[in-house]
Structures are given as structure tokens and as C-alpha cells.
Amino acid sequence: MGSFKYALRDGTRLIIRHWGLAFLTVVTSMAVFYLIGASVLLVLNARHIVNFLEGELSVQAYLAPGADFEIAARQAATLTHVKEVRIITREMALERLKQRMPDRAESVTILGENPLPESLEIAVDRADSIESVVTALAAIPLIDDIVYAGGLAEKWARFSRFAGKFSLAILLVAITASAVVLFNTIRIAVYSKEEEIGIMLMVGATPTFVAMPFVLQGVILGGIGSFGASIFLALSYSGIITRLKEMVPFLPLLEQHAVVLELGLILVGAGATVSLIASLVAVETFTRRAMKPL
């Protein structure tokens, strides 16, 4: 316990002594973690929109003349990514048309005969799979023509996938950047106390004991940075959401505070972990070298 108090005292002293550096480190890691958080929110929202649109994903398949739609339906159902196949009879088609566009339906039935074809309505599990399902359907000889309105969902899915990759790249670059910044800050602090560390090690302080104040310094700086980033993120996100809802009211966006809170916790955790590792590495390499005999 005594040694923790020592570490805390020395860690805070280090921060105060190198306050300019500490400030820069906090600002940098704040920016970095803000960037990470923002890109994660972007991805989450893109996924959310895709999920929403995927609720309506279906493909219409029209059969070749005289084809048995029972058989065609069974064949379609065996395809992967197909969630459900429904047979739309002529009557059902007419019913739908009547519901959606009553006047058009009247003009269609004026001839006395129902000209609407039978079709299959095929529900697809995900927006990404529409393309492959359509290709597979086209290969079934009983099927004559395929119509689908999944274009929007597919576009969003593509965007979501891109956003996922993009944010992964940002994540890697940003984590590396913050690790490097923290590593350097701690290393500067370590070198500023080079002499003292040397003597500490000579009188029998363990490398862990020597490392503690520096690691604490790193974790405090990284923690403050990521915590600040979370606060800013929460504030700016709610601002952006409010604005977007005014501009594009039908866009389904993540609004739960829980999401932002959870993300904040993860960011702070990540910040603490990254700084812990970075400062451990910075001190350890130093003490290892210092304890190596000539």
C-alpha cells in the first residue's frame, strides 16, 4: 500500500513536472479516441439503417408460361440466403393492386379477366445476399423474370461494409498513434529521471516498483484523454442526431443513450489499456537495459 501511495505521488509529480507534455498527450489521445468513437458510431448507424431496410428485402420472380409454381417455389426455397418463399396467386396479386392503387385495379379488371401473372415472393435474409440470390434464381429454368427493389438496401449494405472496413483502418491507425504518443511521453519522463532510476535499481528497488509511477502517469493521461473524448462524443452526437432528425426525419438513427454510454466506457477502457501497455513497454525496455551488467 505504501508503494502505491509512492507511485501515485510520483506519478502526479511527473505529470506536473512535464505539464506541457502531459497536456499535449491528453489532447492528442482525446482527438484520437474521439475519432475512434465517431467512426464506431458511424458504423453502428450504417448497420442500423441496413437492418431497418432489410426488413423489406424481397425479390419477385415471375414464372415461365405454363410452369408449375409449386415446383418453382420448392426449388427457390432450397437456395441459400432465402428466408421464405411465398406463392402469389393471380387473385392475391389483384388484391394487392386493389389495395395499393384502386383506380389502376379497376382499369385492369375492365376486360373481365385477371391479366396479372402468378409470381413468387422470395424473402432474402440480408441485403448483401440479394445479388447472389438473384443470380441463382435466374438459373432456375422455370423462372422467367426477376424484379427486385432491394437496390437501396444493397447500396446501404455496401456502404455499411465499407464503413466497417474504413473504421477498422481508423481504429488501427488511431490506436497505434495514441500508443506511440503515450510511449514517447512516458519515455521522456523516464529519461528525465534516468539517474534516479539507476540509483533506485542499485539500492534494490524492483523494476515493477520503478515502473509504477510512470505507468500510472501513462494511464492517468490516457484515461483523461479517452474520458474527455467520450464526453465530447456524447455531446456532439446528440447535437448531430437532433439536427439530422430535423433534416431527414425518416432516417432511422441510433438514439439510445445506452449505446453512447457503452461506447464511452469501451473508449475509456481502451484508452487505459493502450496507455498501460505503452508505458509498461517504455519503462520496461529502460529498466531492462539499466539492469543489464556491463
Binding site: G2, S3, Y6, E195, E196, G198, I199, M200, L201, M202, V203, G204, A205, T206, P207, F209, T287, R288, M291, P293, L294
Partner: protein, 231 residues
């Protein structure tokens, strides 16, 4: 802790032989002077004991520790039991006298009350209590030397390595420091003291190990500094 050197040689890069085939046996509680001309290897020998220097050949054991392969944690534990008075003091300039000494105890995780008490005691012994708030650059050479001594003995080590501990002191103060080191030795601490101080070696007769060009050239139970006109 007994100290044993068997066949220890140290060659510094590229080809400076600082120690050559040294065999030594220093039982627990002994007082040993290490004498020899400058550059003969005294400091290197002491630094082998703290494992700041690893021998090129040979073995060193101190108590139950074999220094050839000692883990980092064991090395720390080992060093806690060794007090060192460095030839160049190695005081921390931004810590005052009190902190320079207290630091050793803090580093070992001693409770703060004990740190205060023990540091006060030892500063009293080396007559630096009144200077406790000064920083090393504000002290005279002799005062700095005494801080270095205080720091080395504050945690009552089993072995005290003193590299020229009276180098900057007038004879009177040197004698005082010497008395202090002897009193620590009397309590059972092994002392190895490298020195050029002929007066002390001849006045306080103890075992004398003479080295020259890295070799042990003499080892006498109650020796003198200068024998037959040689070092």
C-alpha cells in the same frame, strides 16, 4: 553473507583487462581494504559484487546468490542487502539531503514513520541533521560524501561496499567516517573499502588486499598500505 570470487576475469571491450583470474574469499563480518594504484581494477571488483559488471570468466557467489544467472527480481532483493558508497557519490541533485537518504527506505517500501525516524537517526550520526534541507550542490564535498555514506548504511545492509569513501575529507572527518564504518562493521556488516588513504589503512589495521593491473598481488590479515615501498 560470504563473498567468493573464483577465477574472475573481466575484459572490457575491446581488450582492456580490468580483472584477471581473481580468487577471493571474504567471510561474513570481515573488514577488507582494497588497495592498488589508480586504474588497477578496484572499482571494477566492487561493481562485480553488485552485478553492474558481469565477469568475462569465473564465478562470484555472495551468500546464497550465484551472480552469474540471477533473475531481475532476485537481483533487486540481493541489492537491498548491499550498501554502496559510490566513488562519485551519485546523489540526486533535485532531492535534498533528507530525501536523498530517505529515498532508499521508501524504495524498499518502508512505512513513512519508520522512514522519518531511521533517516533522522542516520543523519544525526553523520552530523548532517542541520543540513537536511539543503540540496547536494549546496553542500561541501565532504558533506556530500557523508550523505553518500548515510545513504549506504541507512538500511543496515549485510555488506557495505565503499569506493574511496574518504576521498574528499580532511583527516579529522575521514577518521570520523572511518569510525562510523567500523562501528557498522562491528555490528556484523561485511565491509570492503577501496582506498588510497595510507593513513587510515595504517591506523586502523585490517585485512588488506592489494591489486595491480587487475591481479590480486597480496592479501594480508593485518596488513599495511605500503609494504616494501610497493603499493
Amino acid at each position: 553473507m560470504d563473498i567468493r570470487f573464483s577465477g574472475v576475469s573481466k575484459v572490457f571491450y575491446p581488450d582492456i583487462t580490468a580483472l584477471e583470474d581473481v580468487y577471493l574469499e571474504i567471510p561474513k563480518g570481515e573488514f577488507v581494504y582494497l588497495v592498488g594504484p589508480t586504474g588497477s581494477g578496484k572499482t571494477t571488483l566492487l561493481r562485480c559484487i553488485t552485478r553492474e559488471v558481469a565477469p568475462t570468466r569465473g564465478q562470484i557467489t555472495v551468500g546464497s546468490f550465484s551472480l552469474r544467472k540471477i533473475s531481475r527480481v532476485d537481483l533487486s532483493i540481493f541489492r537491498r542487502d548491499i550498501g554502496i558508497i559510490f566513488q562519485d557519490f551519485c546523489l540526486l541533485p533535485h532531492l535534498n539531503v533528507f530525501e536523498n537518504v530517505a529515498f532508499v527506505l521508501e524504495v524498499l517500501g518502508a512505512p513513512s514513520r519508520e522512514v522519518k525516524e531511521r533517516t533522522g537517526e542516520i543523519l544525526d550520526q553523520v552530523n548532517l541533521w542541520r543540513r537536511r534541507f539543503l540540496y547536494p550542490p549546496q553542500l561541501s564535498g565532504g558533506e556530500q560524501q557523508r550523505v553518500a555514506v548515510a545513504r549506504a548504511i541507512v538500511n543496515s545492509p549485510s555488506v557495505l561496499l565503499a569506493d574511496e569513501p574518504t576521498g574528499n575529507l580532511d583527516l579529522h572527518t575521514a577518521e570520523e567516517i572511518m569510525q562510523l564504518i567500523m562501528s557498522i562493521n562491528a555490528l556484523g556488516t561485511t565491509v570492503i573499502m577501496a582506498t588510497h588513504n595510507q593513513y587510515l589503512v595504517d591506523a586502523f589495521r585490517q585485512r588488506v588486499i592489494g591489486i595491480r593491473s587487475g591481479r590480486v598481488v597480496r592479501d594480508e590479515k593485518r596488513g599495511r598500505y605500503n609494504l616494501d615501498g610497493e603499493l
